[in-house]
Amino acid sequence: MVARGTLGSTLHPFSAPSPHHFHHHLLSFSAFHLYKAFYPPSSLPHIIHFLKTPPCLIMDISVFQRQKVILQRLHCSKNQEDRHHARVNLHSAFDHHQQISSNCWRPIKTASSATNQPCFSAVSSSNNSCMESVTIPKTDGQCNSDSGGTVSCSVTKRKAAEFSPEDEGKGKGLVAEEAGDEKSEITTKNELEFSTNTCSKEGSKVPKPDYIHVRARRGQATDSHSLAERARREKISKKMKCLQDLVPSCNKVTGKAGILDEIINYVQSLQKQVEFLSMKLAVSNPHLEFSVDDFFTKEMPAYVTKTPQTPAATEFEPTNSACFQYNPNRGTDVRPNESQMTTQDAGSSSVPAPEVFLDPTSIPQFLQISGWDSEFSNLFNTGFHY
C-alpha cells in the first residue's frame, strides 16, 4: 500500500492522502494508463482537466463503472472538439459531411446513396472499420473540403463523360465517331430535305418525295447521292410499270427480271416480225417494181384509218406471232385465215379480190415459185442469244 501511495504521490502531487482519494487516484492512474495506450500524447491536457474534476462526483461507484465513465467522458470531449474542428473545416462543404462528423454511421451511408461514387463508399467502409478513432472523419472532411462538394461532383461528371465515350470507343470500334458522323449527316439531311422541300414548293409541280427512310451508312455515298439514287429508282419503277402495261401478258409476271424477260421477248418477236414481213414482201414482189404504187397510196391510208374499228386487227397479231414461233407449215395453215380477213377489209375499201386466190391450193404454187422453204428455215434458225 505504501509503495502504491508513494507511487501515487509521486505521480500525482496534487492528490489528497485520504484512502478514498487514494483509491480514486489509483483509479485515475489506471485510467491514465489506459488512455495512454489508446490515445496519442497530444491529448494529455484533456486528461489533466478531467482528473481535476472533484472526486465526489464519482464516489460511490465500482471500479469498472468509473473506468467506463472516464472513458466515455474522454471520448465525448474528444468528439466535441473534433466536431467543432470539422464544422470549421466543412463549413462550405455539403451538409452530409457535417453530419459525418456528428455521428459516423448514417450520414456516410446517405452520402454514398445520394451520389453514387465509389470513393464515398470506400470512405464509409474505412469509417466503419475504425469507428472509434475520430481522426478519420476529420481527414475525410479535410480532403473533401479541399476538393469541394460541387467540384468533386463536377469532376465525377466530367470523369463519367470521359469514361463513357472511351469505353464505347474501345468496345465497339469507332462508335462515338460514327455517332457524331450520323448526327452531322442527319443535320445535313434535314437541311437537304428542307432545301428540296423549298425547291418543290417553288416548282409547285414536283411531287414531294419521301426521304424518311434514307439512311446512309458509313462509307456509302453522301446524302445528295443517295437521294438522287432513290429518285432514280422511283423513276425506273414508274417507267417499268408503264412498259408492263404496254407489253401484253406482262402483268402476271412479278419481279424485275421477269418483266425484263417479257420485254425482251416482245421486242425480239416484233423485230422478227419485221424481218419476216420484209422477207415476205421481197418474195411477193420479185422486181420491187411497185407498179401498183398508186394502188397502195390509195388503199393503205384507207386501211390505216380503218384498223381501229375492225376486230380483225386484233386477230392479226396473234396469228402472226404464232407463225413466228413455229414451223413454216403452221404459217401456211394460218394464211387462208389472213386472206379472208383482208378480203373483209378490202371489200369495204376499194378492190374486191377474186375468190380464186382465197383457195388454199394457190399457196403451194406460191411457195414453189419463190423457194420459200429454205429461207424461211434460215430465218428461224438465227435466234437472239443473250
Binding site: L277, H287, L288, F295, E317
Partner: protein
C-alpha cells in the same frame, strides 16, 4: 387514234424508200430485196420520230455506216445524215458509265446478288436489242424501249397489211 397518223407517215416514208431502191437497181436477188425492204422500213420508222429519240438516231446512224445508203436516208428522212461525232459522244458516255459502275458498291448483300445478276444480264440483252442502247443508262433505256415498242408495233402492222395486199396481187400478176 394517234397511231393512225404515225402509220400513214411510216407508210409514206417507206414507199418513198422502196421507190428509190427500185429505181436504183432493177435485177436483184431475193436477199437483196429483203435487205432493201427492211432497211427502208427501218429508216422510215426512224424518220417518223424526227430524231427526237435516241434509238431512231442510232438506227439511222447504223444504216448510214454502210455509205451506200446515205442517199436513201437523206431522201427518206429529208435531212442530213448525222456525223460520227454523236457516236463518239455515246461511246465516251459509255466508258464513264462503266467506270462509275465499277467504282460503286464493294460489299453487296449475298442474297440479292443473284437477282441483281439476272437483272443485269437482262438489261444487257435489252441494250443489245434496242438500237443505240449500249450507251444508255437504265432510265433512258426504258424510255427508249417504250418508244421503240410503240413504233415497232406500227411498223409490223403496216408491213403486215402491205404483205397481205401484195399476196393478193401476186397471183393476179402471175395469171
Amino acid at each position: 387514234m394517234q397511231n393512225t397518223s404515225l402509220k400513214q407517215e411510216f407508210l409514206k416514208n417507206w414507199i418513198k424508200g422502196l421507190q428509190l431502191h427500185s429505181s436504183f437497181n432493177k435485177n436483184t436477188t431475193i436477199f437483196e430485196r429483203r435487205k432493201a425492204i427492211k432497211l427502208s422500213a427501218d429508216i422510215a420508222i426512224a424518220s417518223t420520230r424526227n430524231s427526237t429519240t435516241r434509238w431512231s438516231r442510232a438506227l439511222i446512224a447504223d444504216a448510214s455506216r454502210d455509205g451506200s445508203n446515205k442517199t436513201l436516208i437523206e431522201k427518206i428522212s429529208g435531212r442530213e445524215v448525222p456525223h460520227k461525232a454523236s457516236l463518239g459522244l455515246i461511246r465516251c458516255s459509255k466508258r464513264i458509265l462503266k467506270r462509275s459502275r465499277f467504282a460503286r458498291r464493294r460489299a453487296a448483300p449475298v442474297a440479292g446478288l443473284i437477282a441483281k445478276k439476272l437483272v443485269k444480264s437482262r438489261t444487257r440483252a435489252l441494250k443489245r436489242l434496242v438500237p443505240g442502247g449500249e450507251g444508255m443508262d437504265e432510265i433512258s433505256l426504258i424510255k427508249e424501249t417504250i418508244d421503240y415498242i410503240v413504233s415497232l408495233r406500227v411498223q409490223v402492222d403496216v408491213m403486215g397489211r402491205m404483205a397481205t395486199a401484195a399476196d393478193r396481187l401476186i397471183p393476179f400478176k402471175t395469171i
